[in-house]
């Protein structure tokens, strides 16, 4: 999972990102919302927090850069697949609706990633359909998006 760091440590990306976030909050806060006008203005609290975030992020960045013994975090392809799977459901929702997208995703994942037997796939599909349609649609009365295809049919 993890190996010794070589060159730039990827862990430093997080404090770098939070440094940018803090600077955005400070600049936008001072420019648009102000800090003090007889009393604290809407920018008062976020600016203070952003300044603390900036200072702690710099300290964190230096700490990571100085730490020669830390191991670098390694990402693997499977983690990306989970993210892509969820992104796929979101995109397909706009075309075929949310419920069919979820059920198709479960089928594809179980069949082609996990190589699950048909019995398991059918059981899980039935359980998930029952949960989504029974609990969310019937009981909680959530109207899930039907997508472009659903709009054309209904």
């Amino acid at each position: 999972m993890e190996n010794k760091k070589k060159g730039f440590n990827l862990q430093a990306v997080i404090p770098l990102a939070t440094i940018i976030v803090s600077l955005v909050f400070i600049v936008v806060g001072l420019k648009d919302y102000g800090f003090w006008k007889n009393q604290p203005t809407p920018g008062f609290f976020p600016i203070i927090i952003a300044v603390v975030l900036l200072a702690s992020s710099i300290a964190c960045f230096i700490q990571i850069a100085r730490d020669k013994n830390s191991s670098e975090v390694k990402y693997n392809r499977n983690e990306l697949m989970v993210m892509l799977g969820a992104a796929g459901i979101i995109l397909c929702t706009f075309l075929i609706g949310l419920v069919p997208s979820c059920l198709i995703y479960i089928f594809l994942w179980l069949k082609f990633v996990e190589h699950a037997p048909w019995k398991v796939i059918v059981t899980i599909e039935i359980i998930m359909a029952a949960i989504i349609l029974g609990v969310f649609t019937a009981w909680l009365q959530i109207r899930f998006p039907v997508g472009l295809l659903g709009d054309m049919i209904f």
């Binding site: 999972m1 990827l10 862990q11 990306v13 997080i14 404090p15 939070t18 803090s22 909050f25 936008v28 806060g29 919302y33 003090w36 009393q39 604290p40 809407p42 920018g43 008062f44 609290f45 976020p46 927090i49 952003a50 603390v52 975030l53 702690s56 964190c60 700490q63 975090v73 693997n76 499977n78 983690e79 989970v82 993210m83 799977g85 969820a86 992104a87 459901i89 979101i90 929702t93 706009f94 949310l98 979820c102 995703y105 479960i106 994942w109 179980l110 996990e114 699950a116 398991v120 899980i124 359980i127 998930m128 949960i131 989504i132 969310f136 909680l140 959530i142 109207r143 899930f144 998006p145």
Partner: protein, 507 residues
């Protein structure tokens, strides 16, 4: 006496048919979620939060409370039978639970865990009953400045206690506060940091954010546990049969577990009250304390005392954590933050006034914990013969299921794909943070507490016309400030001392 009269009134709320039903549903779902390795109470509560939208606030929180509480029971099942703790508080249960199961006494190990959870939890709820309203009365004496300091202490302590790196704790806490400041200004209602996006005007929605940070992030991590899970399961004897009769404890067993249960129950409750500690710290403290006492078998080799100490402490801590949550509006853990967020969503303002403004809710919730404790014990005992079957669901099949539950849950709480997109983004951010050693629990706590902190801090400054003196003008404020400074400075001093020691050792 006054508390017990209020408690009796609370039972009239807790025993209403819909609340009993919600309590039972929460108990069953909590047991299942807790028993499933890798999900945990935080993700469990977050994932099941959308289900409570159908209920009124009291019923909804009763269900969530029962769910959180029974989760502690469920975590021990897979710890004992598979050596895979269902939740982090069950880590210490596995130390003796699994060896005891290997010695041919899996049923007794489960029964000991259930009884310890029940008695430990009852001790915790009793202490909660006695202290919660008193704590709220103390809270009523707090003004804006005191509340600001209390909230700062709560946020700081969880940053220090979770994770090994305090700087990362501060970074993540501040990030959580900034995310919460997107949307409307808490005092003037003016739009703030919406960056021209109309969706951001309403802020970052709580439930999709939580579902993403803990639920979806957990699924991404789960994929790496597939192989380990398969290997562990391959080594298990799937033909083990359990029955309630064979799981019964002997009188001798009961004598062995009772003292550690009582000790850990009391200790666990007080650990649970402390911000940032929660059930995991409770179970570890309970287990460590038991090591100092005599056990019939050595600890770590299947000692029933070890299971009892760990389980009693984590259930007591789970109950104890409700005291600061209800009385001061300060959650002790990430799961507490989810419950607090739920309370706020339903329009309840947790804090010292809650016991005055919504006594039926507060006492109804506390009473429901007694009911949930009994229900969970019954369900946990009745489910023993079916546990092997329930736990046989492999992690790899749970990945697509939980992913879909995250998406459907995020949509149902926001009625828009915006909620799903927030869930997706916060899930990836939560995963990246966790992978790089930034604990996400402080961020959730900060996200929930930030509006309260901002409101109190700004009102304190308005009252004092900008003078910082308002934070130091009474002995109570000085004590609170001292506690805050100790929490802030301790890790810095520790780090300096460590470096000095290392330099000395090198010299």
């Amino acid at each position: 006496m006054e508390n017990f009269a209020s408690l009796l009134a609370g039972f009239s709320v807790a025993l209403a048919p819909e609340n009993i039903g919600a309590c039972l549903l929460g108990a069953v779902l909590g047991l299942i979620v807790g028993a499933m390795p890798g999900i945990g109470s935080l993700a469990g509560c977050a994932l099941l939060l959308p289900l409570t939208y159908k209920f009124n606030p009291t019923t909804a929180i009763i269900m969530l409370g029962a769910l959180y509480y029974s989760n502690m029971y469920g975590g021990s099942f897979s710890a004992i039978l598979l050596n895979i703790p269902g939740d982090s508080p069950a880590i210490t249960t596995a130390l003796d639970g699994y060896p005891m199961a290997k010695k041919g006494r899996p049923g007794q190990a489960l029964m000991a865990a259930n009884l310890a959870s029940f008695i430990g939890g009852t001790i915790g709820i009793l202490i909660l009953t006695l202290t919660a309203s008193g704590l709220a009365k103390i809270g009523l004496m707090f003004g804006y400045a005191e509340m600001t300091l209390i909230l700062l202490i709560a946020m700081t302590s969880i940053s220090w206690l979770i994770g090994e790196n305090p700087i990362k704790g501060i970074v993540i806490t501040m990030l959580g506060i900034l995310v919460a400041s997107i949307g409307m200004d808490t005092l003037s209602g003016a739009p703030r940091y919406e960056f021209g996006n109309m969706y951001l005007l309403g802020g970052v929605p709580f439930t999709p954010f939580i579902i993403g940070c803990v639920g979806f992030a957990q699924v991404i991590k789960l994929i790496n546990e597939r192989e380990a899970d398969e290997k562990k399961r391959a080594g298990e004897d799937s033909k083990t049969k359990l029955s309630i009769r064979e799981s019964m404890l002997t009188g001798h067993d009961f004598k062995r577990i009772l003292p550690p249960i009582v000790r850990s129950g009391v200790m666990g409750t007080f650990v649970g009250v402390l911000p940032g500690s929660g059930a995991t710290t409770g179970s570890m403290v309970g287990y460590a304390m038991q090591k100092k006492f005599k056990s019939e078998e050595p600890m770590g080799t299947g000692a029933i005392e070890g299971i009892a100490a760990s389980e009693a402490a984590n259930n007591a801590a789970a109950a104890g954590a409700f005291a600061p949550l209800l009385a001061l509006g300060i959650p002790g853990s990430g799961t507490g933050a989810v419950l607090l967020g739920g309370l706020m969503m339903w329009g309840l303002n947790p804090g010292p006034l809650l016991f005055d403004t919504n006594p039926e809710f507060c006492w109804g919730l506390i009473s429901s914990m007694y009911v949930a404790n009994i229900f969970t014990l019954l369900v946990a005992i009745l489910v023993i013969p079916f546990l092997i079957k329930i736990l046989s669901v492999p992690v790899k099949y749970m990945i697509p299921i939980i992913t879909c539950v995250c998406i459907v849950g995020a949509y149902s709480t926001s009625n828009s794909m915006y909620g799903v997109i927030i869930m997706f983004i916060s899930g990836i951010v939560g995963y990246l943070l966790d992978k790089n050693g930034f604990p996400t629990a402080p961020m959730l706590l900060a996200f929930v507490l930030a509006p309260m902190l901002e409101k109190n801090m700004r009102k304190a400054f308005i009252a004092s016309q900008g003078s910082l003196e308002i934070f130091v003008d009474s002995p109570l404020k000085l004590v609170l400030l001292a506690v805050f400074l100790v929490l802030v400075l301790t890790p810095v001093v520790k780090s300096i001392l460590r470096k000095m020691k290392a330099k000395k050792a090198q010299a």
